[in-house]
């Protein structure tokens, strides 16, 4: 495809209006009519914006990066022999630690619940405030922002960077480029490095990493995450959001006419035209065609083209436009958080309204409360003792030489506390005498019941055999209970099982 048809574009402007407002000759990267079958990426040089939303974004960046880099270093004492890292995914010992919470592999439903909760939370936020996640907290956005800070610091703001791009190679250009990439790489290594600390004891691993004694897989993971950070933050940038990420496609279904999104108020801005200082504002819109909204955009698009796939709703165009409006003495908010419904309301002369509480958001909230409540309930009632009794099925029962009938059971005791605990095992449900034999358990209490010691944070599996005289077995199956009792804390686990024998 080489045919480039004529574009129905407005002609560029040459009037110089307000002297203190920078004007840009710039097109949106996704401008219609300039597309071929394979579109080359147009390099975007986002200008720094200043204002409320930029400030919010700085703080979000500090907090999220702070959490990411620092949380593996928080210590949390859990007693001897147990890791003291507050947040730790201990893959070797299959445990997940989160401050006072400790999760065993069979309790992975807590994590499932947390993921569902996060997903619905994202739905709720998206349906009420649009792409807040994308614009403020998504790691891609945060790291691209961080990489841009570095780029701006080394190479200057937008126009300086464009000049540098176009300049011939010189020592100064080379120095700037090398410095920038070195800093980017350092950030990337720190990012990849921080990731592995979540899976290992951070101080130990840090020492190992420095002495090149850490496991090879650790270096491999650091390498992977370093490369992705460097590539996605330094080069791919908005391409990730536009072409790779599935979330922008999915979230369309959560948004409706009441969803607040970053929007250009065309009803106020149009017809747009350059404006000369001193001219009146009658018969024209507030948009003065300065294109400051385009130059600050990290996705390089024009918000005035309406809602579009590429827009991550970072709100920087709001800041850019607001500062222009301030300078030309027009009210702020030509670009603002607004809903499609408000455009209709204004057209019909009705008052604007923010309509957050609606069936959709209520439903998401209810789901969140139910799921969050269940997780909290589950965690609060999480038993630190779990006993599983597995009855032998092969063979169902054994006839002994005395004529007695014997059944075998495997009793698994999970001690989820960080203390060594002792449990006595007892059985109820037999009418008369029964005989209990345990394998490998020597200790007995005063009543002759076996005492089983289970290490801190461990599972112990014990084989027990119960036998009763043949004539006491009145049916082929007797319901019995195997009771494990903590001899110090006195909490009890009763486990219903059965005792089987031959047909009478």
């Amino acid at each position: 495809m080489s045919v480039q048809p004529e574009t129905p574009e407005q002609k560029p402007t040459s009037i110089i209006p307000h002297e203190n407002i920078e004007r840009a000759q710039v097109d949106a990267v996704n401008k219609a009519g300039e597309r071929s079958l394979y579109a080359a990426r147009k390099k975007i040089h986002p200008k720094r914006a200043n204002g409320t939303f930029r400030t919010i974004k700085w703080w979000v960046m500090i907090v999220t990066l702070g959490i990411y880099y620092l949380s593996p270093w928080i210590r949390w004492d859990r007693g001897p022999e147990i890791p003291n890292q507050a947040i730790l995914v201990d893959i070797t010992n299959s445990r997940f630690y989160f401050f006072f919470i400790e999760i065993w592999p069979q309790e992975v439903y807590y994590i499932t619940g947390l993921l569902i909760l996060s997903a619905i939370g994202l739905f709720l936020v998206t349906s009420s405030l649009g792409r807040i996640w994308c614009g403020y907290t998504c790691p891609q956005t945060v790291w691209v922002d961080l990489f841009l800070v570095v780029e701006r610091f080394i190479e200057g703001d937008r126009s300086a960077r464009i000049r540098l791009d176009q300049a011939k190679w010189s020592l100064s250009k080379l120095t700037k480029r090398i410095t920038k990439h070195i800093i980017w790489l350092i950030i990337s290594i720190l990012t990849g490095g921080a990731w592995v600390f979540y899976m290992n004891d951070a101080p130990t691993l840090a020492a190992q990493l420095i002495e090149f004694e850490a496991p090879l897989t650790t270096y491999f993971w650091i390498f992977i995450l370093t490369s992705t950070t460097y590539l996605l933050g330094g080069f791919a940038r908005e391409q990730v959001c536009t072409y790779m990420c599935p979330w922008p496609r999915i979230q369309g279904v959560m948004m409706d006419e009441d969803t607040l999104s970053v929007m250009y108020r065309y009803d106020r801005g149009e017809p747009r035209a350059p404006h000369k200082k001193g001219d009146g504002w009658e018969g024209r819109g507030d948009c003065i065609q300065c294109r400051q909204c385009v130059v600050v955009c990290p996705a390089g698009i024009d918000i005035r083209d309406g809602m579009q796939l590429e827009c991550i709703q970072c709100s920087l165009c709001i800041d850019a436009c607001d500062s222009v409006m301030e300078k030309i003495g027009r009210p702020k908010g030509l670009i603002a958080y607004d809903s499609l419904a408000n455009f209709e309301r204004r057209a019909e002369g009705r008052p604007e309204k923010i309509h957050i509480i609606r069936p959709r958001t209520m439903l998401y909230t209810i789901f969140m409360i139910i799921i969050g409540g269940s997780i909290i309930y589950g965690l609060m009632h999480r038993d630190d003792l779990e006993v599983n009794v597995l009855r032998d099925r092969n063979p169902l029962f054994v006839k002994l030489s005395s004529g007695d009938i014997r059944n075998g059971y495997t009793v698994k005791i999970l001690n989820k506390t960080h203390d060594i605990r002792k449990f006595s095992l007892d059985v109820t449900g037999f009418e008369h005498h029964f005989d209990m034999r345990t394998e490998g358990i020597e200790e007995k209490d005063a009543n002759g019941l076996p005492i089983i010691e289970v290490g801190r944070d461990q599972l112990r599996s014990v084989k027990i055999y119960l036998s009763i005289p043949h004539n006491e077995l009145k049916s082929t199956s007797i319901d019995i209970e195997i009771i494990a009792k903590d001899i110090e804390r006195h909490n009890i686990s009763r486990n219903i099982t059965s005792f089987r024998g031959p047909k009478q």
């Binding site: 219609a32 071929s36 394979y38 579109a39 990426r41 032998d392 092969n394 002994l400 014997r406 075998g408």
Partner: protein, 287 residues
């Protein structure tokens, strides 16, 4: 069909110029890096064919210049697993059986490894639950032909029964009919007598006790409790290796039984046999 690209007002996009029966395609281009990624992956695939095993041939496959083989990876992993178990298997080798039974770690290791070894080697005759079948003893109960202590179980596994081992377990019950020691009627009487020992509802025929004492008590004992040194089973309990009904017992006495079990020394290494003995001992009947 290819025509000139047209501007589409509704979508604010141009068409590609491709047209099929009046259906036109809007131009929503792929990013060029995507194309490059695709090309890079294709080149990578070609490289992969060269260095890794890939193409099937008639009776073989291309090995690849790196000589990678998943079979080698598996054997390396199996060897690593054997190495990692060494701390236990070496301890098993030196420790005596009683120590193993009392050491929690060794006991649990033996129970786990013994179970796997049993499934691979013993379950064929004794059954996966070790409950045996006709001619193959149930290892869960407390009725042992050759003794149910750890040492005896260990020895039986090591040497086998009527095996090629020099010290093999061997019992030699005469075939009372074919060897012309007893008559058919005498055999029938003594069989009924043996049943009466464990079944109160059966009466012992007259003179049968006499026949028993003269012919059987040498090995099975005067009280018919059996004799583990000879592998002579206890006849007073209701556990039968070949069956306790009159016909089966008649056949057993008339023609004798000569069960066999292979020796496992030489097939399994000593540590494995020790672990297996401990496992069988924990099945519930161990003495």
């Amino acid at each position: 069909m290819s025509t000139e690209p047209e501007y589409d007002k509704i979508t604010d996009t141009y068409t590609t110029g491709h047209e099929w029966d009046g259906i036109k395609e809007l131009n929503t281009p792929l990013p060029r890096w995507w194309l490059w990624t695709f090309i890079a992956c294709t080149i990578w695939a070609i490289g992969y064919w060269i260095v890794m095993p890939s193409w099937p041939l008639v009776s073989d496959y291309t090995k690849g210049v790196l000589g990678h083989s998943q079979r080698d990876v598996v054997s390396a992993e199996v060897n690593a697993a054997i190495q990692s178990r060494k701390i236990y298997s070496e301890k098993l080798l030196t420790a005596d059986l009683e120590t193993i039974k009392n050491d929690r770690d060794l006991l649990e290791f033996s129970m786990a490894s013994g179970k796997a070894v049993f499934g691979d080697n013993c379950a064929g005759c004794h059954g996966s639950g070790a409950s045996g079948s006709k001619g193959y003893p149930n290892l869960n109960d407390d009725d042992w032909l050759w003794g149910g202590s750890l040492e005896e179980i260990h020895h039986t596994i090591t040497v086998g029964v009527r095996s090629t081992h020099d010290d093999t377990r061997i019992s030699d019950m005469p075939a009372f009919l074919t060897d012309e020691i007893l008559t058919k009627n005498q055999i029938k009487d003594v069989a009924t007598y043996v049943i009466s020992l464990s079944n109160n509802s059966v009466a012992a025929p007259e003179g049968a006790a006499q026949i028993y004492q003269e012919n059987c008590a040498v090995c099975h004992g005067e009280g018919a409790q059996g004799h583990k040194e000879f592998g002579a089973p206890n006849l007073t309990d209701d556990i039968w290796l070949f069956g306790g009904d009159p016909e089966t017992l008649n056949a057993t006495i008339s023609y004798s039984r000569k069960g066999v079990m292979p020796k496992w020394a030489g097939r399994l290494d000593p540590a494995t046999i020790k672990g297996l003995a401990v496992y069988i001992h924990t099945l519930g009947g161990g003495e």
